[in-house]
Amino acid sequence: MHKLDFFTQKRLSFGLFVVVLIVLTYATIIFTEYNVAKGFTAIPKAVRWATANFYPDAASLKKLPTILLKLRDTILMSVASATVASFCAFFVAILGSQTTRINVWFSVLARGIATIFRNIDVSAWALILLFSFGQSSFTGYFALFFVTFGFMVRVLIETIDEVSTDSVEALRATGAGYFTIIAQSVIPSCLPQLVSWVLFMIETNIRSATLVGILTGTGIGYSFDIYYKSLNYHAASLVILVIVLSVFAIEAISNRIRRAVL
């Protein structure tokens, strides 16, 4: 009897979940006046337009050197923001981690800061920072910096607690001092994950930098914006192609580095 109740209850709660999901979907469709049939039939039309217009032609290839120059700016900005932010994040993460924190209040503060920086989206940061720095590389750099910083503090806190709690205890028991423990136990234990996450953030930042560039008027995002708005779809598609290829290349490189480090 008791067992039966348990399974009936589980089935009921799952059924309820499905009903809620359907009602929610239907309500939003009505509310936004979205026509499902029209939405799907538009896809072939979009594909036809893209194949007719959205491809690089000979004229647009002449713009390749300019585009690559902008791409270089974007990649450098992404790498710089990812590495510097991760470096700063490591110190805050040490204060935030249970294993290495100096006291509880620092830990709460560090986690709080990380949450704020992480949960404001990169495009929101870019818009906020536009007020301070205007349309310059600084805006994009700091927007990426803040988001990377927030994310890295969070993952590094988890990494430190997961990887080094035991060895930190052992070194504390030998009488080693705080900074010695960080240097001899925490850093060597976390290094592979640290490198891996920095590479991940570089990849993520290159993707975000494109979007941020549209807002801040810098880098490859800006090139895309200009070509697109001046109806030069061939050049705009070339920009997209260059971005995709560079993301693939960066990912391939970072996978190699990861394997070497682990």
Binding site: S164, D166, S167, E169, A170, L171, R172, A173, T174, G175, A176, G177, F179, T180, I181, I182, A183, Q184, S185, P188, S189, L191, P192
Partner: protein, 262 residues
């Protein structure tokens, strides 16, 4: 000569019930003491109060006739250098080599600069090599610790404790994660260290038969209180059942054989 005197030691986590409640005993230089008791009895807490990895609530720990109740940070580090600690999960920095992990035992003696940079003297390196040879690990000296078996890792843990030149070894469940043959090697090693080097050993154990075979003295703890303090010879099944708070016949005990040997 008493090396260690525990005086009315109590420990309370927050407002929970006492993990340790008025523990009092004395350990002489050269003794091999086993502490037995059910999980959660306070065995680990007791060991960690001796080297102040966990702050005590009340009472005192006298080491070499000196109170360690309110040690300033620097003196606390000196206190810890004299006490080696061995852990159930070995607590090594797995990504570092065996010899680096052994040398970590010297970090308690180092200044912050020397510790952070990992500067070890030739004499220290020489000693590390000798200890590894004596523990049969000379072939694995430059291997990474994550390539070792559990028994080998525990021997690295012992080497790290020995290079501290400790007066006392605290062993927290050193064989709980090991297979019987590796467990025997570890216990034989500890016995050898005790007899050959005259280092006092306190070891937490789950296996009553192992405690009876190796220790000169067995302290039984239940709910933070000492239930018995006897030589293996005086330990009767009745006392052991008291320690574990169980009825006769509820424990896996190989008792007749033990007494026949004794």
């Amino acid at each position: 000569m008493p090396l260690l005197h525990i005086a009315q030691l109590s420990k309370r986590y927050g407002t929970d019930k006492y993990a340790l409640d008025g523990i009092e005993f004395t350990v002489d230089t050269g003794e091999f003491v086993a502490i037995i008791g059910p999980s959660g009895a306070g065995k680990s807490t007791l060991l960690r109060c001796i080297n102040h990895m966990i702050p005590m609530t009340s009472g005192d720990v006298f080491f070499n006739d000196t109170s360690t109740k309110a040690l300033p940070a620097h003196t606390l580090r000196t206190h810890r250098t004299q006490i080696g600690m061995i852990f159930q999960h070995y607590n090594l920095v797995n990504r570092l080599s065996v010899i680096e992990n052994v040398l970590h035992g010297r970090l308690g003696y180092k200044s912050t600069a020397a510790g952070v940079m990992g500067w070890y003297s030739t004499a220290e390196k020489q000693q590390a090599v000798e200890i590894l040879q004596s523990l049969g690990l000379s072939d694995h000296m430059y291997k990474r610790c994550d390539q070792l078996s559990g028994g080998q890792k525990q021997r690295v843990g012992i080497a790290r404790a020995l290079i501290q030149n400790p007066k006392l070894l605290l062993c927290d469940e050193p064989i709980a994660s090991l297979d019987p043959s590796a467990a025997k090697i570890i216990m034989d090693t500890l016995k050898d260290i005790n007899q050959r080097l005259g280092i006092t050993i306190i070891v937490n154990l789950h296996q009553v038969d192992v405690a009876m075979r190796y220790a000169q003295r067995i302290i039984g703890i239940n709910s933070g209180k000492i239930v018995c303090d006897a030589t293996p010879h005086d330990l009767t099944p009745t006392i052991i059942h008291q320690v574990y708070g169980s009825e006769a016949g509820e424990l896996i005990l190989d008792f007749g054989e033990q007494h026949a040997q004794a």
